[in-house]
């Protein structure tokens, strides 16, 4: 852990991330490009649903990343609360809108997928419901950060909320699972289902990795801007104080 602390200096972060960013962006373009080609042209149509099932290649990676980003946000928040590394707070703050975007993408693609396969845009399935609630938790976090002007207070309030949310999210998920099994006769999602073949698994994993590197690219880009923005703000304050 001690070795990682030297990256916590905002100046070091800006210097190193500037070198990493182009490579990360290139990797993202390759992963998503190859992944989409494999998913749309190479992979066979799904046995029961035909070409409609190809939306899975966007839906599943979005959902995975939406959850992973909340985890990353919680870890960054805890890091900030414990070690007070300014970069950790910047990472948490910059992650939230990206996580919300992936959550929204997962919900929208799922809804578009649901219409031809289940015959309806929306069902109160356990997973859909808990992802929807996660979206509201993301919104709450973003709104709270935006409402507090003072940087330090905004960071701490956000960190507390993110950690409270991370304790609550599993409880919310299981409560919704039990609620769902008691309210609905049978789950709409097939349990198990046919095992996924390699020609479909490869594009799925490529796109999942591509979405993650896309998140990292956006994250670093947003973090650089936030760090520069904070520096400008503190310079202005210094200037005003004479």
């Amino acid at each position: 852990m001690a070795g990682l602390h030297r990256f916590a200096n905002p100046g070091t972060f800006v210097r190193i991330s500037a070198k990493v960013l182009p490579w990360l962006a290139g990797l993202t373009a390759i992963l998503i490009g190859v992944g989409l080609y494999q998913a749309l042209l190479v992979a066979p149509p799904e046995a029961y649903q035909g070409n409609v099932a190809r939306i899975m290649y966007l839906h599943v990676p979005s959902a995975w990343n939406a959850m992973m980003i909340y985890g990353a946000m919680a870890v960054a928040s805890a890091t900030w609360l414990i070690w007070k590394h300014p970069v950790a707070d910047v990472a948490a703050q910059a992650s939230a809108p990206i996580g919300a975007m992936f959550t929204l993408t997962a919900l929208l693609t799922g809804s578009l997928w649901g219409k031809p396969t289940w015959g309806t845009f929306w069902v109160w399935d356990a997973r859909i419901t808990s992802v929807t609630i996660m979206l509201f938790i993301y919104f709450g976090y973003i709104a709270l950060r935006a409402a507090i002007e003072d940087g330090e207070r905004s960071a701490k309030a956000g960190a507390i909320l993110a950690l409270v949310g991370s304790v609550n999210l599993p409880i919310i998920h299981y409560s919704v699972v039990w609620w769902n099994t008691l309210h609905q006769p049978a789950s709409v999602l097939r349990a198990g289902g046919p095992a996924i073949v390699a020609s479909m698994l490869v594009p799925l994993l490529l796109l999942a990795c591509g979405f993650t590197t896309y998140y990292l690219t956006l994250l670093i880009w947003r973090m650089q801007r936030e760090i520069v923005g904070r520096r400008v703000r503190s310079l202005r304050v210094l200037q005003a104080q004479g």
Binding site: G165, V167, V176
Partner: protein, 221 residues
């Protein structure tokens, strides 16, 4: 009398006296419940079926709307600052204030609920489960709400933000509360859900004061 008891007593007295507005939450609870028959129609069978949900949603909203009372006035007149300096740890102070909030909103709400059960044609045998689920669930609403209230205490017009933060966190309490009543009505058993609700209550009692106190400290510094 211990410092903890003093704070509970003070907050309860403040809430009950003129201007405290503790009964506003109760009137709001009754009013919200009355809106449902007006909107879905006077079909008693339908109302009986959705009564557990209506009562719990109204309880959640009533508890949420009175949350600003928890810290706002004390924050504005500086009492909160003195309370953080007091020998009693801020975590316990927060717990005492949440307890007082529950005594003046959740408790009367739970006692009143069978009366509203009659209006909604709720199965009469479910009244004890209804009251018990509210008795176990409303303290959780006060404590989780306390986190939200503490986070937003310094924010002007934080009311809507507070509900945005708190409502998603209320989901497990709401779900288990409604499932307990429903489980009793369709004879699948209320006990597992009441146990889960108790577990949520214990977890909230153990964890929420830390989060609320941390949030208050950052707003007072």
């Amino acid at each position: 009398m211990s410092a903890f008891g003093q704070i509970v007593g003070r907050d309860v007295r403040l809430a009950l006296r003129q201007g405290g507005g503790s009964y506003w939450a109760l009137i709001f609870f009754v009013l919200t419940v009355t809106m449902f028959p007006l909107s879905v129609g006077p079909d008693m069978q339908l109302l009986g079926r959705i009564a557990p949900g209506i009562l719990w949603v109204a309880a959640v909203l009533a508890a949420m709307l009175s949350l600003d009372r928890l810290f706002q006035a004390d924050y504005e007149d500086g009492t909160l600052e003195l309370l953080t300096l007091a020998p009693l740890s801020l975590e316990l102070t927060v717990l005492a204030k949440c307890l007082a909030h529950w005594i003046t909103t959740g408790l009367p709400l739970a006692i009143l609920s069978p009366l509203l059960g009659i209006l909604l044609n709720l199965d009469a045998s479910a009244y004890p489960v209804l009251v018990l689920s509210l008795l176990l669930g409303t303290p959780v609403l006060s404590m989780i709400g306390g986190i939200g209230a503490a986070l937003t205490v310094g924010i002007r017009r934080g009311g809507v933000l507070l509900s945005l933060l708190v409502l998603p966190l209320y989901v497990p309490t709401l779900v288990f509360g409604v499932l307990a009543i429903q489980g009793h009505i369709d004879a699948t058993g209320a006990r597992p859900h009441l146990f889960l609700l108790s577990a949520v209550l214990l977890a909230a009692t153990a964890l929420s004061p830390w989060a609320s106190a941390a949030a208050l400290r950052l707003n007072i510094e």
